[in-house]
Structure formats: C-alpha cells, structure tokens
Symmetry: C2
Subunit: 252 residues, 2 copies
C-alpha cells in the first residue's frame, strides 16, 4: 500500500489544443468557457501508468484531481480486516478526486489503475481559485456531483431490492447504446469478472452462480469477455421490475 508512482510526462504537449480538447470531452466540464478550461490547465500534466498501479492512498492530502484519458481507474477503500470495497470504476473522460476540495482536503479513497492508463493530473489549488470566481464552473460541478450522487442512490436501492442476476443484468443494460432498446445485442465486458463482482458488491461465488442462472435461462450467451443478450426487452422487464426507474434509464 505504500509505493506511489512517479509521474511520467508524455510527449503530448499540454499547452496545445489537445489538452483543451480532452477537457471539452469531460461531461463535468463541457459547459465551461475556453477561458475557464485554460485556467484549469495551469500546472496540469499528463502521466502514463501501467496496469494495477496504486497511485493514491485513502487519507493522503489531496493536491490533485484527475481526468481519465485512457483506461479505467478503480477507486476503493480497505478495512482494518483487509477487505476491499470499490467505490467506483472511473471510465475515460471522467474526473475523480475533485470532491476532496469540498471535504476535509484528503482523498476519501485509494486509486489503482485497472489497465494501462493515461491520466491528466490537475491542480486542486487552481480549481479552488477558479471556483471562487466562476459561478458557471461551480454549477457544472454541482451538476456532476449530483448526477454521481443519484447514481449512488440508485445503487443503494439495487443492493436492497434487486437480486444478484438482476444486478448483473442492470450493469449489462447500462453498457448498451441508449438507442438499443430491443432485439439482441453483443457487448464486451469492460473489465474482468472478478473486478465486476467486487464492483457490484458480490462475492465471486454469488456472481458466478447468478451469471450461470442467466445463461441457463437463455437470457445471456457468454464467450470469454463477450456477452450476447438474446432479448433486450425480456432482460429489461426482468431487471427493471425491481427498480424505481424504467428502461432505458435516464442516467445511462
């Protein structure tokens, strides 16, 4: 738990248009003006990290927040007993770590790369200064954090009301293109099954049995990391009957 990575600057120059373009693709920041984005890029730099690299420790003083430009980042916490709870798996174009600014100034999670990652490391001090001057940036962040909080609420609801096969089904339906609401569909799991089980708060055995049940009932066909949903409508009826939202989800 104590080897923190060295930053590895890449050959992508941060002062040219690439960095601005990258920030424009971040939903949390897409409504910001170019002036704001340029301000946020002060003291920013890129780093490349290998797979399974731990680079933030829960409780450390937070000086940076991050945008994922490539790969997936796992945010998690550990108990004294050594058990691990995953709080999020952050995909491309999403930010994390910025909420430390509004908390006690430390990271509320540890962070580890799931695969090879490119991250943009931005300064929390710069963000603080800019937020005090720019209500539009604050509103954009409020929108982003509220959206995240709504997703957490939904997840808490699912852990109470959905069974294990329904939770797996829900995760798969969320991977679909929002326009794909009927027929069959083939998709690739974004990360391995063991990580997915932990992400969904399940023991690996529970996850395996739940997946087997979906296969036995011909809801899914699975080949390695590739999954075919035989009938999207049928799966959504099964999954969404135990949810307060209806398919397709507004927060997909």
């Amino acid at each position: 738990m104590n080897h923190i990575t060295q930053a590895l600057p890449t050959d992508i120059a941060l002062n040219n248009g690439h960095a601005l373009d990258a920030l424009r693709h971040v939903p949390a920041l897409s409504a910001c003006t170019e002036e704001t984005l340029r301000a946020l890029l002060q003291n920013a730099y890129l780093e490349e990290l290998p797979k399974n690299r731990l680079f933030l420790i829960h409780g450390d003083k937070a000086e940076n927040y991050f945008v994922v430009l490539k790969g997936w980042v796992k945010l998690f916490r550990e108990t004294l007993d050594g058990a691990q709870a995953i709080t999020d798996i952050v995909p491309k174009n999403c930010i994390f770590g910025e909420t430390a600014l509004f908390g006690d100034g430390t990271y509320s999670f540890s962070a580890e790369t799931v695969d090879e990652c490119v991250l943009m490391r931005l300064s929390i001090d710069t963000l603080r200064t800019r937020l005090e001057e720019d209500p539009a940036l604050a509103l954009a962040m409020l929108k982003n954090i509220t959206n995240h909080s709504h997703q957490q609420e939904k997840e808490l609801e699912h852990r109470t009301l959905q069974n294990a096969p329904q939770r797996i089904g829900c995760f798969l339906l969320r991977l679909l293109n929002p326009q794909t609401t009927e027929g069959s569909a083939t998709l690739n799991l974004p990360y391995d099954k063991a990580l997915l089980a932990t992400r969904l708060g399940m023991q690996p055995e529970t996850f395996s049995r739940a997946l087997q049940r979906l296969k036995d009932e011909n809801v899914l066909r699975i080949t390695g990391a590739q999954i075919e949903i035989s009938n999207i409508e049928q799966l959504s009826h099964y999954v969404c009957s135990a949810c307060s939202a209806s398919f397709p989800c507004k927060d997909l």
Copy 2:
C-alpha cells in the same frame, strides 16, 4: 400515492428574524451571508404536516426545496412491484430537494413525514438565480452535496462489508455525542424499528435477529425505544473492524 397535502401556513412570520435564524442553523447554508439568506427566503413559506403525510411524488416537476424545522422526513422510491427503498431520513435543520435543480428538474424521490413536521418550503427558481450570482452559495452547496455523497459511499461500503449487527451498531454509534467515545451510554431510537430496518436496507426479520444477537452478547440492553450501549469501546471495535474509517467517525 396520489393525495398531496395542502400547504398550511403557520403563524410564524417568515419575514422576521425567525426564518433567518432557522436558515443559519442549516449546515448547508450556514456559511452564507445574510444577503444571500434573505434572497433565498423570497417566496418561502412554512407548512405544518401531520404524521405519515405523503407530500412529494417521485418524478414530479420540482418547484421547491425544503428545510426540516421539526420532525423527520422519509425520502423513498418505489418499484413497479411495490417494493420501497428509503434513500434518506432527513432530520431537523437539513435541506432536501435542492438537487433537482442540477438534475432533470424533477424530484428523484417521493417524500413522506415520519412524525408531525414543520417544513420551510423554498423556491428552486430563486435558488437558481442566486446561484448564478453568488459563488459562495455554490461552494456551500458543493460542500453539502459532497458530504452527502461521501455518506452514501460509506453506506454502500457497509452494505458490502458489514453484517447486520454491525450495521445496527454503526447506526447507534452515530447517534452518540461525538465526545462520548468510551464507557456506557443510553440513547433513544429517533424513529420506530420497522422504519429503521428499511433505512438500513434490511428485512424486518433480519433486523430483529441482528438486534437479538447484540442483546444476547450483552452489547445492548433494550427497553422500548430506549437502548443502552454497555461498552462503547467494545461496540466500536466490533463495528469499525469492518469499515474503512475508524471510530469516532469524521462524518458523524
């Protein structure tokens, strides 16, 4: 699910100091200037509601947000199957409903009073206008929503890593005065056991068995709604070994 309460204006005049004082006690707003608080009070009014009154419906257009001045308010969602998930039980001096402004403009929950309540009903339009002008208000709300989101994260963690007696113990430890970290303590359950079970995401039978186990092991003595914790240190060791935080909690 379809009888919405009439507002019942009380005899507490909103334009005098009482209303300002009430807003100053709301942690989410306590850092705001008097000018901001006065602005937020435009078009605000008070309402008294009896016990178990449903007054907001999930999906309705959100025109108001609320401060609880007396009582407890249950926020929940229902599935098509009729199952209920509680997303929060809001105590005195806390706000709810304001996040609709940063979402799709509808309430993401239904709301019902747990006991007799006095609520201050504030205007979301007024909040929107003020937020666009006042970065300090936006920062205060960012802090509040982040804190709420961290609590949700912790709760998700607990549903994965803590067993039922630990989750009950955690809830009780959070009711303690933060200075009370050893010895014994007596406290009153803020609401009835059935509601508490749902709040903790447990079936009533699971809740009863877990409570019985805590009694059998002499951790708790229970008389009606009154609970005595025999040894706070012992309970916190038991509860917090399955949590990434240590006792006493920073977010108590």
